[in-house]
Symmetry: C2
Subunit: 385 residues, 2 copies
């Protein structure tokens, strides 16, 4: 079977983008991706937009049609894919399906979100609206789930509080070399540990910021990929899975079933295992999530993800670099863009275009988490031969 | 190649559903579809929700995860598909892709919207937010586009105002026999022609209502369809296409390019033409749209769709019955549900389960229009042998 290749990628600067709207950001990333892939707008057959909430954030809907207009891609078919914080990963899955099914021979995926014009309280409220009413009506938000889970994790696995802080330190360090990152500054462990408490034991620097931004990828059958790119990446495996929508129904909150199930599907499809992964982008919306995913993906034994960070295994020069992009933590988290930006980083690493962030990698993995693991998409990519 | 089959379908009563929310409606349709197909929740691999604006209408997002919870379908992968008024058709396309790509062997699609708790002005505002800012900032809404287009059509093709009214009369008559329809009452031509002017020449009865409701379909590879249903339908062809996002940029507003282009893709894939279609569900959000689609799909020559209605060709007992369900006009138009409900009607007609609405049909077509033709999905279905 002809596999699905990625032959171009782009992302805008992530951060505060005053005076611009989501359609401006989508158009910027979309145009750059067309340029990067050497694809003309009339070649695009399907155009997907990953976006959670342009209507709630801006009062603007129909953004996929606006993007088709702005890119001069009409009459390309277009639709919006929403899977909350994992909308980007869901977009990668939709784009993969569009090519793998034969519906499209050239699919452009653009993910984006514009959030910073709203207050943090308002943005948090939009995000909290994804949770189950039995939880959010009692005031539970995603950060509070994270705090409760972090406390349980530290207690259960006898992990030091400092290990969480080291995730933030590592990812900020990586972000310095990412020209698209929201924060390009290192932070030291004391700064993290002394920052204001948000949801004990988690503090301000354990959380990703509110962000505007967009990222894009171009998909086509591998059989024609070489016409567009000397070096490209293929989707070797991809899977998605849900966990309970009511978080407190989970038997063990330190295990994310959606990560386990989605990665099993992706590994099986790719005929690869966690030991084959050379570089990974994980969904570090909260520092604790990087531990959970690194374990539930099978990189480390349960309860030992924190040790890998302590020992530098996941540093850029470690055995398994995680979040070379800076992660959501320093790069930022424009909801619909994040999963696309994760795949962007893996693509750049596999095609040798990651510049100062470059690591030696032939197989990469991206794990995009919606809600508090309510839905997860895991994507495994391989470098072209 | 193994085609994609539909082996079960359901819909809720459309209309005013007080005290219920979109997740209630989605769960009702989802459960009924599982029952109809004889599929257990753990067999569902992908679960798609067609919905335009649960966040804007209800302040609730993440409804696909809520539905996976309510149906006990966890860990099925789930995502929301939005293509404004054509979200349902986009959901059919996504579900088709999920099975055709091999990603899922059992996909449940549930479309739904809850709108009537908001005022007509508020609902219209949410819908208007899909149009291009250069138009909606000047106060143009979809109904006003319809009025302008209707005037142009009547003038260009020398059609009588009464012909538009006859679309409403026909579709209301069909709706009487649809137990799920919002309006199950006939209206006579004088009532339509004397109703209040909304956007001249169009009057109240030229418009579909604001509606709550949900509809669902179950998809699997045709090779296993007989395990679930003695009679089933297959997706013979499906395609989607956009038109200009700025409506006033169109060279000829009486031609919907998205309909032309999407149907060409669908006809080619199905190896069928308009002459092979036995029954069709068209997107009669406004009566004028039924004329445009019936022409742009190739059923009738340009400018002659109105004659077909005048001559009874599109009546239930005519040569090409259109909107046997009652159409959006009498059945109602819960945005995300409508495209799914169109396919529901075709499925029922092809499997011989349409009861008093039954016509003789082996090939059916559904045309779902987003915005004012900004994006269109055309689906051609065939009865099993």
């Amino acid at each position: 079977m002809d596999r699905v290749a990625i032959v171009g990628a782009s992302m805008t600067r992530f951060g505060k983008r005053e005076g611009e709207w989501v359609r401006d950001l989508l158009a910027e990333a979309g145009r750059a991706c067309l340029d990067d892939a050497g694809v003309t707008p009339d070649e695009v057959e399907h155009l997907y937009v990953s976006n959670m909430a342009s209507g709630e954030f801006e009062g603007q809907t129909g953004v996929p049609n606006a993007l088709a207009h702005d890119l001069a891609a009409v009459p390309a078919y277009t639709a919006r894919i929403d899977q909350t914080s994992s909308s980007g990963g869901a977009g990668v899955y939709a784009a993969w399906q569009s090519v793998a099914s034969g519906a499209s021979d050239m699919t452009l995926l653009v993910g984006g979100e514009k959030m910073t014009h709203r207050s943090t309280a308002e943005s948090t409220d939009v995000i909290a609206s994804l949770t189950h009413p039995v939880e959010y009506k009692h005031g539970v938000t995603l950060p509070s789930f994270a705090g409760l889970t972090a406390r349980l994790y530290l207690h259960t696995y006898d992990a030091p509080r400092e290990s969480l802080g080291k995730v933030a330190v590592k990812n900020h360090k990586n972000g310095v070399d990412n020209p698209h990152a929201q924060f390009r500054k290192e932070v030291d462990l004391d700064t993290v540990l002394d920052s204001p408490i948000i949801a004990d034991p988690l503090r301000l620097y354990d959380f990703c910021p509110i962000t505007d931004g967009s990222a894009a990828l171009m998909f086509c059958p591998e059989s024609v990929a070489r016409e567009y790119a000397d070096e490209y990446a293929v989707i070797a495996g991809i899977g998605g899975a849900t966990d309970t929508h009511v978080v407190h129904e989970r038997a063990d909150p330190t295990t994310m079933r959606g990560v386990v199930e989605s990665s099993e599907i992706a590994y099986e499809m790719a005929d690869l295992g966690p030991e084959d992964v050379d570089v990974a982008e994980l969904h570090d919306m909260f520092t604790i999530l990087e531990f959970l995913q690194s374990e539930d993906l099978g990189f480390f034994e349960k309860g030992e993800g924190w040790k890998a960070v302590e020992e530098g295994v996941t540093d850029r020069d470690g055995d398994l670099p995680i979040n070379t992009s800076g992660g959501l933590k320093s790069k930022g988290h424009p909801l619909g863009a994040s999963g696309v930006a994760q795949a962007y980083e893996i693509y750049k690493q596999l095609t040798g275009e990651a510049g100062p962030r470059q690591v030696d990698a032939n197989v990469g993995l991206a794990c995009n988490v919606g809600g508090f693991g309510n839905c997860v998409i895991t994507t495994i990519m391989e470098a072209s031969e």
